[in-house]
Symmetry: C2
Subunit: 470 residues, 2 copies
């Protein structure tokens, strides 16, 4: 059997676990559980004999994050950039194009980048069966064996046997998210959760898309045909892709096709959609408290604390989730986890930048983080990865002092280029054309002190940029 092509949907801007996740660093890139992100764990789960190298469908904004997180776990693959978000039907259509270009009957498996799977062996075994049924022409979705009457998922009613050997059934119906009583009934009747992960043959799905959503099929085909490779990324054609109507693959195909099948999956799956889900998946003490980082609970039960840097104490409160980052704190009742998105929307209405951005901002060359600010000054910590270089740039309103605290910097300042070593500094007057390079073998860390009358990030003129941002 040919290898399955795994496609990971990695373009979402999930804010349901704010303030840890934000638009500029969404949920799939966060180490929600353990030390790796759910995206990285997804990569590792799919790093198995049955699978080809992964295809990552992501957003232009996340391309360097995807690249770096893949490098961290030593997995390479093809990174495809959507010029804008057009929902899952368009993304699946693109997956079909990519797979079909390799072999028309290639089996494709589509996975979300932000789900957790605790039983990896069971998952991998299940994938083999799902792929087997997909190869026969079924569109096989993973139907999760419910652990309770959840109201946050759609359900699937399994029907007649489709592929007996693989344990795959026909889908009798997809049903919407139920209320609690209906959910209980569904469970008793053997319904399964719709996980939104599925397997199909490229030609089968392509035909279904062409039949049900010809505009999407045509837009995807054209966007792929006109795609350009830039810095190793496959950038879909913007104009063509924009023609794809925005709709989910569930509506576009799954609920209409006669090929829909389901494989019951007991794989310890969670979409980690709320902080409550994170608490459920975490190790707890005798009082039901789960603590990550600098948390302390006294006289409280069933609490979750996530505090990377800030000492966070809960005293005399039960069933509460507290998440403290360096610029935002969330205190949410355990039953209100699904309202976090509404809160973030409210914060956006109030124009709070914490709703969208972290204080640490990732760039292709590393990151910067604001650590202090005043009326006429700002202090940043800048970390540049070995071999990377910032753009050649200048500012109209600010001068900069750089103090190297780790590693070595090669600094271009107007006509000269000098090396600045640990415990040395250099001054960049207003208007000077400058560039920062890390020519060394370890991270370069420096403290930047900006002074001036305007310190906005947009006071930058990029004269030349290896990351094509100029």
């Amino acid at each position: 059997m040919k290898k399955v092509i795994p496609v990971i949907m990695c373009g979402g801007a999930g804010t349901r676990v704010w303030p840890a996740s934000r638009e500029t660093m969404p949920k799939q890139f966060i180490a929600l559980l353990g030390e790796r992100s759910t995206f990285q764990n997804t990569l590792l789960r799919l790093n198995a004999e049955a699978f080809d190298a992964p295809v990552i469908v992501t957003n232009h904004d996340y391309r360097f994050l995807v690249e770096e997180q893949m490098a961290q776990v030593g997995i390479s693959g093809q990174i495809v950039l959507e010029p804008e978000r057009r929902d899952s039907a368009a993304a699946v259509a693109i997956a079909c194009e990519i797979a079909a270009a390799r072999a028309p009957d290639a089996v494709v498996a589509v996975f979300a980048a932000d789900h957790a799977v605790q039983k990896v062996d069971a998952f991998q075994a299940l994938c083999l069966k799902a792929a087997e049924a997909a190869a026969l022409g079924h569109i096989v979705t993973l139907g999760i064996a419910p652990t309770g009457p959840a109201t946050g998922y759609g359900y699937i009613r399994p029907g007649a046997v489709a592929v007996a050997a693989a344990g795959v059934a026909k889908v009798e119906a997809f049903v919407e998210k139920p209320d609690a009583a209906t959910a209980q009934k569904y469970i008793e009747q053997g319904y399964l959760w719709n996980s939104g992960n599925f397997f199909f043959r490229a030609d089968v799905m392509r035909d279904e898309l062409a039949a049900f959503e010809p505009e999407i099929a045509a837009a995807a085909a054209e966007a792929f045909a006109r795609a350009k490779t830039d810095l190793g990324f496959l950038a879909l054609d913007k104009e063509a892709f924009a023609k794809a109507p925005k709709t989910s693959i569930d509506y576009a195909v799954m609920e209409r096709t006669s090929h829909a099948a389901v494989i019951p999956a007991d794989i310890g799956w969670s979409d980690v959609g709320t902080w409550q889900a994170v608490w459920e998946l975490s190790d707890k003490d005798d009082h039901g408290n789960a603590i990550r980082g600098h948390g302390v609970v006294v006289g409280g039960e069933n609490c979750y604390i996530r505090a990377d840097d800030t000492l966070t104490a809960v005293l005399g409160v039960n069933d509460v989730i507290v998440v403290a980052t360096d610029d935002a704190v969330l205190v949410v009742g355990a039953q209100y986890g699904d309202k976090v998105k509404d809160l973030v929307d409210e914060l956006k209405r109030r124009k709070r930048k914490e709703a969208r951005e972290h204080r640490r901002v990732y760039r292709p060359w590393g990151y910067y983080q604001s650590i202090d600010g005043g009326e006429r000054h700002q202090v940043k910590r800048i970390v540049v990865k070995p071999g990377h270089k910032l753009s050649l740039q200048k500012h109209f309103h600010r001068a900069e002092h750089w103090i190297v605290v780790r590693g070595a910097a090669e600094v271009t300042r107007d006509a000269e280029t000098v090396m600045v070593h640990e415990n040395e500094s250099i001054y960049l007057p207003i208007g000077s054309v400058h560039r920062l390079v890390n020519p060394g073998k370890i991270d370069l860390e420096l403290i930047e002190v900006q002074t001036g009358s305007y310190l906005g990030e947009d006071d930058i003129v990029r004269i030349e940029d290896v990351y094509h941002r100029a």
Copy 2:
């Protein structure tokens, strides 16, 4: 009538409103309500015709804080330094010595620095009456008209009329903090709360102390007689003061003297002893939420949020207090406010520095605040008040880069002295003897980047210090 000598007890290390208050910046110096500290509001309340300049009894560690907070509200007075904490009886004995040195029959009024009084006019009118009765030889305590059956205060049972014109009664009994049912009974029987603020004639209190606690009286007399003036502070003699047994003025005198009297006080008083009390005294919205700083409540009632810099959101939780500082977060159930002290003790056991210190550390010359740190570097913001100078010093393990971002610095570095202006920097190599002075008219602000193998605050050799810390 001679003016009353107000004595403000300002040496406590109150941590009941941690993390806002800590040992290095206790409750009385914090702007708990409004823009000023309770100490400053106390000073302003006593800045009235009937009162002489205040005497502040404080701890050696807080002397510059007291001085600065007095300067901020434009009030001067005598600052007396206790070499160590010996509880309130010793402090009152010292107040007697100070007052008696001016006039043996001077009327003294002793106030806590960390209480709130909402009805200032009523308070001042009351003080005149209390002083009148004190001049007649009574030791008059303020008996607060209870607003509810509080279990956190001692109660006073008023007895026969003492001074009819002043509305002052004899104290029939002081009673311990009651349980809720007993408190209810006390209220029905007209008991008053013991506020711990009182008026007396210096000679009367001195005689009572000499009779009941001769060791305290003797120790105070000797510590005062041998006191030395240093930088304008009156520093009590350490050895003599240490001989005073540790006990409260309630136990030492008030519960034993036949002179105890009480004046009913309807003055909007609170000892602001818990975060719940802060919530009670704060303005609230229609849902009972009180927010100070960057707080947001969605779907919650009767919450208090204090967030000076960090966006703090409460979602779907009622009756909770959330206090976020730059290095610590407290989430406490409204009914558990009196357990904060226990939590702080627990944090001390865990050797958390946040239990004792703030990130911003006040010094006689201004403050410094740690803003970033790594393995071999640390970044601080340093603010020096106009006309102030740091000690002449050197370090064994660290070099320092100073970048001036506001004001002007006069920097001595070994043999040279140079001016460093805004947007200029200077480097201080390891071992160099240096001093920082603000010769200007506005605050000097600079960013200090330290690099080295050991960055502890104790790597400092003070060669010369205008604040006598060398």
